[in-house]
């Protein structure tokens, strides 16, 4: 049973019945048989809740990560000396192997959704921070000079000139962060936070990958969906970039 080298905290949710269901009458287990349509048809409703949980985890984590990283980037924009330490700090977080990050948090925050959200948000920081910083750096100096010269306060320069002009990079960071969070969020199952991981990391799936494949497809559709939304937002938020081509 414990042939899987993962901590099988999640397996409890799936249980013995699950394995039987899969190897029962509906679909015979064959090594060559990667995907069992009959099983998929009969069990598709078991993915509803995990998908919603996954969506929720991703949305909360990305929004939280964005708020923190954006705030830090603005801080580092004003106080340049903060940039190297912040870049290094978020970089270290990003470098922690994902599963170990979740497990490291376990003793502190326990098996909870919060644990998953903390870890997932932490992973977005580096990408968003870096992109916001680059975006603000790329704002033409002449636009800032004329903004100050015409009497904008520093705050007005930031919100009316710098941030709008950094939008493409900021949204670009959000897109990468969102897609990677959607993928990593499957690991939330190891801290009992639900999500599609519940349908992926089960011992039975080693011999019967149908559920893994279904989950992957859902994750990919989700990633595609979020990316499309963000691209649409960027499209409407940056009309001047389209004008350039015409």
């Amino acid at each position: 049973m414990a042939s899987l080298a993962l901590p099988l905290a999640a397996v409890g949710e799936v249980g013995e019945g699950f394995i039987q269901e899969r190897t029962g009458q509906v679909c015979q287990q064959k090594p060559s048989h990667l995907f069992c349509w009959d099983w998929a048809r009969e069990n598709i409703d078991r993915y509803g809740t995990p998908t919603l949980q996954q969506l929720e985890l991703v949305a909360i984590s990305v929004v939280l990560g964005f708020i923190v990283a954006f705030g830090l980037a603005l801080l580092a924009h004003r106080r340049r000396w903060l940039r190297p330490p912040l870049l290094a700090g978020t970089g270290v977080l990003y470098a922690i192997p994902s599963i170990s990050f979740f497990l490291l948090l376990l003793p502190i925050t326990g098996r909870s959704r919060e644990t998953a959200i903390i870890a997932l948000s932490a992973y977005t920081l580096q990408i968003i921070f870096r992109n916001v910083t680059v975006g603000l750096d790329n704002v033409p100096a002449s636009a800032k000079d004329s903004a100050r010269g015409m009497g904008m306060t520093e705050r007005q320069v930031l919100w009316r000139v710098e941030i709008p002009l950094a939008t493409p990079e900021i949204v670009g960071g959000l897109r990468i962060a969102t897609v990677s969070t959607i993928a990593i969020a499957t690991l939330a199952v190891f801290v009992h936070a639900g999500g599609l991981g519940t349908q992926i990391y089960g011992e039975a799936n080693l011999h019967f990958p149908t559920s893994i494949l279904i989950s992957i497809v859902i994750v990919m559709v989700m990633a595609f969906f979020f990316d499309a939304i963000l691209l649409t937002i960027q499209y409407f938020a940056t009309p001047w970039r389209r004008a350039r081509a015409s």
Partner: protein, 399 residues
């Protein structure tokens, strides 16, 4: 001071204030050297003062101390009666137009939004801003439809015009222009300079204009402050004075050896006595034209073909005159066509570029006024008049 400036000063300047530097200095950090050294000069309301000098002479710093984008370390600058030190920098800057070489339009805002930027900061009502924007687009000669475009969709010249319009939007007391035409190709630059002078004739702002180009300074300035490394003003005078009587060796070197030629930049075609060409009309008997040519005091040896409105069409050749009547299509093209209001230096350039000896000069309605020749110009340059007398052409902007 020339007569012309006296007249311009006698006019009231409701929308402009004088700018007085009172011993204003700038030292960057702990540097030993001053960037601007005890600058004291007064720019009367409604005049263009050009700060000119080699790079590193502190001209831009001197200009930027006015809107406090550079804070002076000593002394004071007054706009009208008020010290710039007494105002909040952001508020101060909203009363001062600002144009820079890189233009600095906001790429994410439409042309209309760019022009309306300062009114927006001042909290104008939308209607008022919109009306003002439309007015300015017309003033700078841009199609109102361009108001909806983004800066990247405009040419460099159009963008620079928008930059000037944006600076004028809230009717500032003073305009600061930092090498505004420096990044524009020479041909467009000349057009933009002329346009700005025409604009200035209407708006009469007090302008501080920074350039490293002495020719531009001579052309644009009512007064020129020539600065030297270390932020010292070597001479502050009218362009004519600077050319005729350079105060120091530095000024003489900076102005260059071709001072007489440069004075052409201060004259307009209308300021010189033009020659008269024998005029010929389409269908006129060529015998009559030949008779005119034979007159003893004829100044131009070629007949100029004009239409019924006396608008020049071209020059008639010997072969044209061999026919019975004057043909509708002359043998030689018109060549360079000058306007009475053209600056003499540009007119000479047109003559040389067109490899023409003569150029027809027309008035503002396009009717023939006379003929300018290379000879007239070279006679003028040789005359003592060129070195001594002031010319009415210093009266700029003309209008």
């Amino acid at each position: 001071m020339s007569e012309a400036q006296a007249t311009s000063e006698s006019q009231p300047q409701p929308g402009a204030s004088s700018v007085s530097y009172e011993g204003a200095s700038k030292r960057y950090g702990n540097s030993d050297a001053l960037a601007v050294d005890q600058l004291t000069l007064e720019v009367p309301a409604g005049e263009i003062c050009v700060l000119v000098g080699p790079s590193g002479c502190g001209k831009t710093t001197a200009m930027r101390m006015v809107n406090r984008t550079v804070e002076m370390t000593e002394g004071d600058i007054r706009i009208g009666d008020e010290s710039v030190r007494d105002k909040d920098p952001a508020r101060l800057r909203r009363e001062i137009g600002y144009v820079i070489q890189q233009i600095g339009l906001f790429p994410h805002r439409t042309i209309a939004e760019n022009i309306g930027a300062v009114p927006q900061l001042l909290g104008w009502k939308k209607e008022r801003t919109r009306a003002r924007t439309a007015e300015l687009l017309e003033l700078i000669g841009l199609d109102p439809e361009l108001g909806e475009r983004y800066p990247a969709q405009l040419s460099g010249g159009q963008q620079q015009r928008v930059g000037v319009a944006r600076a004028l939007a809230a009717d500032p007391l003073v305009m600061l222009m930092d090498e505004p035409f420096g990044a524009i190709d020479p041909i467009s630059r000349e057009r933009l300079q002329n346009e700005f002078l025409r604009l200035q004739a209407q708006v009469r702002k007090t302008v501080l204009f920074v350039t490293h180009d002495i020719d531009e300074a001579i052309k644009m300035g009512d007064r020129i402050a020539i600065m030297k490394e270390g932020g010292k003003v070597e001479q502050y005078a009218t362009p004519a004075e600077v050319l005729m009587a350079p105060a120091t060796e530095f000024v003489e070197d900076f102005v260059g050896a071709d001072r007489a030629l440069k004075r052409l930049a201060l004259m307009r075609v209308a300021d010189i006595d033009l020659w008269e060409a024998p005029l010929a009309y389409v269908g006129q008997a060529t015998a009559e034209v030949r008779a005119k040519l034979a007159e003893p005091d004829v100044e131009v040896p070629y007949p100029l073909l004009v239409d019924g409105e006396r608008r020049p069409l071209g020059w008639l050749s010997e072969r044209d005159l061999r026919a019975e009547t004057v043909p509708a299509r002359p043998d030689s093209p018109l060549g360079p066509l000058l306007d009475r209001a053209d600056v003499m230096r540009d007119a000479l350039a047109d003559l040389l570029q067109g490899e023409a000896q003569y150029a027809a000069v027309v008035d503002h309605e396009g009717r023939i006024d006379g003929v300018l020749s290379v000879e007239i110009i070279s006679e003028f340059l040789k005359s003592p008049e060129a070195k001594t007398e002031e010319h009415s052409a210093v009266e700029r902007p003309h209008g």
